[in-house]
Amino acid sequence: MGVVYVDNNATTKVAPEVVEEMLPYLGEHYGNPSSIHSFGGDVGRKITRARQKVASLLGALPEEIIFTSCGTESDSTAILATLDAYPDKKHIVTTRVEHPAVKNMYEHLSRKGYRTTFVPVDRKGNLDLEYLYRNLTDDTAIVSIMWANNETGVIFPVEEIARTVKGKGIVFHTDAVQAVGKIPFNLNNSRIDMLSLSGHKLHAPKGVGVLYLRKGTKFSPFLIGGHQEGGRRGGTENVASMIALGKSAELAESNLKEENDRVKYLRDTLETGLLESVSNTYVNGDTKHRLPNTTSIAFEYVEGESILIMMDQFGICASSGSACTSGSLEPSHVLRAMGVPFTAAHGSIRFSLSIYNTESEIDFILEKLPPVIEKLRQMSPFWQEFKKQSEQKS
């Protein structure tokens, strides 16, 4: 078997239909959408359609869609624009399990003098809403809470939170990079002010993202320049990638059912299979409120990087919450915030599927992975110790 790709929360395969749609705009249709001549204007019209498709996926208006270069740009823009709009407010709120795109921006702002609140989660990765609401004040400028967690797939009740936050007159932003394309959206019916998404997480290429900005929300651009994106993001358009993202949004909308049926079934097959065949193994995060494609599985007493490199020998691509893989030395801040013990945090592997995965790929992982864990446990002093202790007990 070639590559078995189950790392779709890291990035996804660009859909063949998407490649086909974008290629002419890297070739013969090289016009500038801002030009007055029809050679450029045709490109502009194509972007308009792409914008409509993204708006349709989100249940938003086309003019509420701002194309950006990535999810991180969307996040940074949303946060900084809000602080710019409310210069007197010096308190900002987010969660302890946020992606670095938001987490590190908040830490940066904290060093700049902003008071920051990082809302904790419980052992299942669910947000402490009571803590969140208790910490909102008149001084709070923005609350930014991810829609779904990239490591565990746990979904936060973002629409409910937005209602409460907006009720107090505070701007609400959500990083929905992992959620868009996996669950249905209808922003029209929500009170969310801003939402970030990233193209390469939903089968468009890397280098394009979107910031949804609710009509009427106070805003100032992050990239100041030309009139592009309604003057809200300067810079000549990344034409081919925007068109690609439009196509991938259209595909995502029509694949939503498959994502929640077949992909979910494959994920559950993988999860159940691993829990049944490998002892001392459990799922990180609340399985009731979770993306259909993600599972984070803790294999106790072994270390994640070793698992990944052994799986790599079979062409299986996944990722881990372990310290060693990322270059940082501490295990994932998400798993630590959930209070996952060290016995399990270092050996946690995230599998994230897509519509391109097949049943035979899942069978292949179920065949190859259990012996890898067994081999590493044979080497692990903690596993040996654990076994001796359980033998003594019985």
Binding site: S306, M310, E330, H346, M379
Partner: protein, 275 residues
């Protein structure tokens, strides 16, 4: 993805001498679950003090397993006094080099070897020397000084790569810089002033330090600590929350709580846990 060379990969995928020696002459154990890697090295010697057999058990990343495997291959057949001279660089060289962020794996190998040999010689286990600098990984100033000297390290990143210090929360990086400057002769170490406290002052200071410094830090990880009693220089505490069930709680207690109290109250204190 780390750039592991083929020899490192080979020692990881086909590790040599994995397992346990049932009646070893020496055992060396380093690392912990909390730190993300640990190595248990077993040594058997012959009547001429030569290493007859060595086996290992390792929890950790690919380079930790490869370093352990390489170490056993290097020491089998060596007289103890020769084995004693092996440095972490020798282990890394034997593997054809390790990524610099992974040098701590070779340091772990050397540390386990030293401990195993000390165990054979019947030497008492050395108490932790020096003051903890990196609280995340429990690394002391002495350990940092040693790797800086032995490996001619120049930057904080180098130190993190070799002993992990500074790679967690990053709060100790200034202290690491001071050690680097001191070892490389750029600055003189600053001596600490001895102080004499009355019992009342001491207890109050212990309470304050627990409240201000230690509790918030433990609470971040869902743990907590309560002061039970103070008798002379013995401080009795009870660990609570996630600390109470944490495998690394003894490390936390000795390396963090005790060190902070010694630093901020008086160096004579010992901390003991009340169950």
């Amino acid at each position: 993805m780390w750039d592991y060379n083929s020899k490192v990969k080979d020692h990881f995928l086909n590790p040599r001498n994995v397992g346990e020696i049932p009646d070893p002459d020496g055992v060396g154990e380093v690392g912990s679950l909390a730190c993300g890697d640990a190595l248990k090295l077993y040594i058997k010697t012959d009547d001429q003090n030569r290493i007859k057999d060595a086996k290992f058990q390792t929890f950790g990343c690919a380079s930790a397993i490869a370093s352990s495997s390489a170490l056993t291959e290097m020491i089998i057949g060596l007289p103890l006094q020769e084995a004693r001279k092996i440095t972490n660089d020798d282990i890394a060289d034997y593997l054809g080099g390790l990524p610099k962020e992974k040098m701590h794996c070779s340091v772990m190998g050397r540390d386990a070897l030293e401990k195993a040999i000390a165990d054979i010689k019947g030497e008492a286990e050395k108490p932790v020397e020096g003051q903890i600098v990196c609280e995340c990984f429990g690394v002391t100033d002495r350990e940092i000084e040693r790797v800086v000297k032995e490996n001619h390290l120049k930057t904080i990143e180098d130190v993190t790569g070799y002993v992990k210090a500074g790679g967690g929360c990053g709060k100790c990086q200034e202290k690491i810089q001071v050690i680097l400057d001191t070892v490389t002769g750029q600055k003189k170490p600053v001596g600490k002033k001895p102080s004499k406290l009355t019992n009342i002052q001491k207890i109050r200071l212990i309470e304050e330090t627990l409240e201000r410094e230690i509790k918030p830090s433990l609470q971040k990880d869902g743990g907590d600590i309560a002061l039970i009693d103070v008798e002379g220089d013995r401080v009795f505490v009870k660990l609570q929350g996630t600390c109470a069930s944490c495998a690394a709680s003894q490390v936390t207690l000795k390396h963090y709580v005790e060190t902070r109290l010694r630093d901020l109250v008086t160096p004579e204190l010992t901390v003991e846990e009340v169950q």
